[in-house]
């Protein structure tokens, strides 16, 4: 209250009694309250508007929420405002009169805070109970279940009497059962506890917990505790699934970042410190394509995949032809030279684009979550990137196993002299292999642009992880990279809740050091002649 008053003093252009005429004094008062600058008064106005059953209530509340319902300062009346180039095109809410175009200073937004916003959400949910669309009714009952309000119980009873959709009926019965836990009759409470068996909603669990702790009747307490234990088992089971998904998704990012390196380092034996910057180039390619077609974020993201492959691949071929080929067999010099290249690439991006991070938009299909049940939900961006990493892995695997290039790559990796004797142009194969590995790094950059910040330092944060995955998995083995990446991701996510993000990372590193001590060739060591190389 105190704060609200202060805000009142803070905002200039205070409202006097607004001249609104709807013919209904109660409704007039509600509109005056909505135009008030005190958030508590405004919230009361929202409630009053809903209670009045005004035919345009939904429209008005949505307008208040999204800012299209505004106050015209010249006449102090509510208007509908549409943003345009010259200013706001405004129309009177009550008379419908077109008031022309006004500058934004004259058409003020009606400020709302989280309290008002929450009240509008609740009000819209309660109005949605009468919606002809069963999905909206279901969402409305869900919202009421999430924030139980005793005043809404009669509404739910009315709904249940006429409801035909089985899903909505079931959820409504749950919401009513939660309220029956507070009934004075012990048998009623016991029946309510049974009705809530196996429900995973947080509200149900909290209500059962309260009953198990505080109910007057020992039988009810025991029944509630029993149901709670059963529910808890399920929750634990889903929590495990969730951790596994988080781990696999974190691991799939590692796999994506490392898989290009598995080619250049694993197959060719080149220590490429600029690998991270090739990832960064892929991410920047995504950004640039998105800048070129700002209205189509989804299409531009898909286009960015081949584009990033080409950009990073060409950059990789350039690096190989320009620098690395002179340094084969000299790992230390290669390391230094590629480190230098990584700094050059970073500075290039800083100078040409911006030293600051650039915003890459997430298309609609990459945001949001897939709610499997009240305790398990998977975010779409992680889900797609997990699938994407498997596709990239499978594609790369097929290239190496099924194409002529793959055959030549494997031949040169196993025995360069023999391959050349058989007519393989090893220099060309080296360039193409390096280009392939670099191109895959670029593709990884596209995926990373959806998860993390795109900036000149993007590559640096992944280079160490990438080497870690390749070495842990076994140099020269693609399967090793996949298994190592996914298992490191899962290990990290299992440790994280228990030890915190910082310590989890350290523990994983310590584990890898110990592991490499014991099995210096990684999880899947190369066998046969290639192992000597």
């Amino acid at each position: 209250m105190r704060f609200a008053l202060l805000v009142l003093m803070l905002l200039p252009g205070l409202l006097s009694a607004a001249e609104i005429e709807t013919g209904d004094p109660a409704l007039d008062a509600a509109f005056a309250q909505i135009m008030d600058n005190d958030f508590d008064v405004k919230a009361q106005g929202v409630d009053a508007l809903v209670a009045s059953g005004h035919p345009k209530a939904v429209e008005l509340l949505n307008g208040l929420q999204d800012g299209s319902l505004r106050r015209y300062t010249r006449t102090d009346r509510l208007v509908w405002a549409i943003d345009g180039d010259a200013g706001y095109a405004i129309r009177d809410v009550f008379s419908g009169e077109d008031l022309g175009v006004e500058s934004s200073r004259k058409v003020r937004k009606l400020p709302i805070n989280n309290t008002v916003r929450g009240r509008i959400d609740a009000a819209l949910a309660s109005l949605d109970l009468n919606s002809p669309d069963p999905a909206r009714r279901l969402a409305a009952v869900g919202a009421m279940l999430a924030k139980p309000d005793p005043a809404a119980i009669p509404q739910l009873r009315t709904l249940l009497a006429s409801e035909t959709d089985p899903a909505v009926r079931a959820l409504t019965e749950i919401a009513l059962a939660v309220s029956r836990l507070g009934n004075s009759d012990a048998d009623e409470r016991l029946a309510a506890v049974d009705a809530l068996a196996g429900r995973l909603e947080p509200t149900v669990r909290n209500a059962l917990q309260a009953t198990a702790d505080h109910d007057a009747d020992p039988a009810v307490r025991e029944a509630a505790q029993h149901q709670l234990n059963l529910i808890q088992q399920q929750v634990d089971h889903y929590a495990l699934l969730e951790t596994l998904f988080f781990g696999l998704s974190a691991g799939s990012v590692l796999v994506l970042a490392a898989i290009g390196l598995a080619i250049t380092f694993g197959v060719m034996g080149v220590i490429n410190m600029a690998h991270g910057e090739l990832i960064m180039l892929g991410a920047y390619t995504t950004y640039l394509i998105q800048q070129a077609m700002p209205s189509l974020p989804g299409v531009s993201l898909l286009l960015a995949i081949p584009a990033a492959f080409v950009v990073s691949g060409l950059a990789g071929i350039g690096i190989e032809r320009g620098v690395i080929r002179f340094l084969y067999g000299r790992p230390l010099e290669t390391l230094l030279a590629t480190f230098g290249i990584s700094l050059v690439l970073q500075q290039l991006v800083r100078t040409l684009i911006s030293p600051q991070n650039v915003p890459v938009e997430n298309p609609e299909f990459m945001s949001g979550l897939w709610q499997i049940n009240p305790v398990l939900s998977l975010t779409y961006n992680r889900l797609y990137i997990f699938v994407f990493s498997l596709i990239v892995f499978a594609a790369l695997f097929m290239v190496l196993k099924k194409t002529r290039l793959g055959l030549e790559v494997r031949a040169v990796a196993q025995n360069r002299a023999m391959a050349r004797a058989m007519g393989v142009r090893s220099a060309r194969v080296d360039a193409l292999t390096f280009g392939l590995g670099s191109g895959i790094a670029g593709v990884a950059g596209v995926a990373l642009s959806q998860l993390t910040n795109v900036g000149p330092n993007l590559g640096q944060s992944y280079i160490v992880d990438s080497f870690m995955v390749v070495v842990f998995g076994g140099v020269g083995n693609l399967w090793g990279t996949l298994v190592a990446g996914l298992s490191l991701g899962v290990a990290n996510k299992i440790l994280e809740p228990w030890s915190g993000a910082v310590l989890a990372k350290i523990l994983v590193l310590v584990f890898i050091i110990l592991f490499i001590q014991k099995r210096s060739r990684g999880l899947f060591p190369q066998k046969g002649r290639a192992a000597e190389g």
């Binding site: 704060f3 202060l6 989280n114 909290n206 030293p355 910040n453 993000a501």
Partner: protein, 430 residues
């Protein structure tokens, strides 16, 4: 487009640098030098470059008004490159070689700690413009950013007013979040919050995989009590954090996040539609309607040559600090650091939110505290403002070992950490 803009910027910067050196030769004796110690490269360049430009603008404006004590002001800009030991070297260069009258600079606490001994040894003045963890008061440093009681505590009070009873304290793993969270934890417990209702979480700088932490927050918030997140997450890790919040469907009406390191500048790269209603606590917002603020924004956008550039809280802190220094120099009639340091205490200048800020004897200033909600245009809407000004408290009242300490640099006490119980000044320099 970006390329052209950058080339333009580059040539501007070169021209400015050329002009600076030229003027240094031309009028070496008739200028008062002002040091600007902000990172222009490295991780902190994102935030600090803006402050360097703010200082150049303020100095430029002062010169247009006729300078100071009849002399022109001259900015000496150095680049400590987000490298903490280099901050100390550059500070020494500014004071010993360039003989600056005062220095405006630093962002992270670790950079301030790095330059502190240099300023004390060479007895020069530093104006530090960023909100920080407190627990410090140096004779040579003037803290124009917020102390915890000017940002963190009022934000928590506001959320308590809104009915929040369960708290997640999430931060980046370094000194500012750790100290702030220690103070907040003690404060919440003093207010009767049970230990079970506080979840503390730290993540490394630049953390990008927020899925399990956000899922934990979601679980923690589903216990039937109103929950809020107090975020001291710093730097660009905020972008994936807020994205994950949006993806996992955590709306501000369910679990509001109040941030202490997210301002207009940080939001300028993010789509803020999913973040509407999340909060930030500062002493200044660009959206505050005030004539002085409008003039400042206009001057800034004209100086930087873009209508899209935003202003933020540390910029206001430099505005206040610089004007205080100018006023104190005029009062003392000299730029001698000792005299100016004494004259600074008690100086009051207008801030940009419609009031006056004054320098306290503990070298902190008085400020109003504003809580704002993020809007879909990347600006904040003020939802709460303290009734009066809050004086910065160097030593927190909620931590053992610091609640008995006070700082008062006026004679005869002249101590940054005077223990009122033992009636002793510990003797350490800060």
């Amino acid at each position: 487009m970006a390329l052209v803009a950058n080339l333009k910027k580059l040539s501007l910067a070169l021209a400015a640098a050329g002009a600076l050196t030229a003027s240094a030769f031309a009028q070496a004796e008739d200028t008062i030098k002002v040091g600007v110690l902000h990172s222009l490269s490295g991780t902190m360049a994102i935030s600090e470059t803006t402050l360097k430009d703010t200082m150049l603008m303020l100095i430029d404006e002062q010169n247009k008004k006729g300078g100071l004590l009849g002399k022109k002001l001259e900015a000496v800009v150095v680049d400590p490159a987000s490298n903490w030991p280099l901050f100390a070297e550059k500070a020494r260069e500014l004071i010993a070689k360039e003989k600056v009258a005062a220095t405006f600079g630093c962002w992270t606490s670790v950079s301030r700690k790095s330059v502190l001994p240099v300023f004390e040894e060479l007895d020069s003045l530093l104006f530090y413009p960023v909100q920080y963890e407190g627990e410090e008061s140096s004779k040579n440093v003037f803290y124009t950013g917020a102390a915890p009681n000017q940002q963190a505590i009022p934000a928590v009070d506001y959320l308590m007013d809104q009915g929040v009873t369960r708290w997640v304290l999430a931060g980046t793993d370094y000194v500012y979040p750790r100290t702030t969270n220690k103070i907040l934890e003690a404060y919440l417990k003093a207010k009767g919050v049970a230990a079970d209702d506080i979840l503390i979480n730290y993540t490394p700088f630049g953390h990008s995989d927020w899925q399990s932490i956000v899922a934990d927050i979601k679980k923690f918030g589903s216990a039937g009590k109103k929950t809020a997140v107090v975020s001291t997450i710093n730097g660009d890790a905020n972008v994936p954090f807020y994205k994950e919040l949006g993806n996992q469907g955590i709306a501000a009406t369910d679990i509001p996040v109040v941030a202490f390191s997210v301002g207009e500048e940080e939001l300028s790269g993010i789509d803020t539609k999913p973040l509407v209603g999340h909060l930030a606590a500062w002493n200044y917002f660009m959206s505050v309607e005030d004539d002085a603020n409008d003039a400042f924004i206009e001057a800034w956008q004209k100086f930087i040559g873009s209508d899209n550039r935003v202003t933020n809280d540390p910029m206001e802190a430099h505005y206040i600090g610089f004007n205080m220094w100018v006023k104190a120099v005029e009062k003392a009639g000299t730029t001698d650091p000792a005299a100016v340091g004494d004259a600074l205490i008690g100086v009051a200048v207008p801030n940009l939110t419609g009031g006056y800020s004054a320098m306290m004897p503990n070298h902190h200033i008085t400020k109003p505290v504003l809580i704002g909600e993020i809007q879909d245009d990347g600006q904040f809407q003020v939802v709460s403002k303290t009734s009066g000004l809050v004086a910065g408290d160097a030593w927190s009242d909620y931590l053992d070992g610091s609640k008995d300490l006070i700082a008062d640099w006026r004679a005869p006490l002249a101590c940054g950490n005077y223990n009122v119980k033992t009636a002793k000044c510990s003797g350490q320099n800060f």
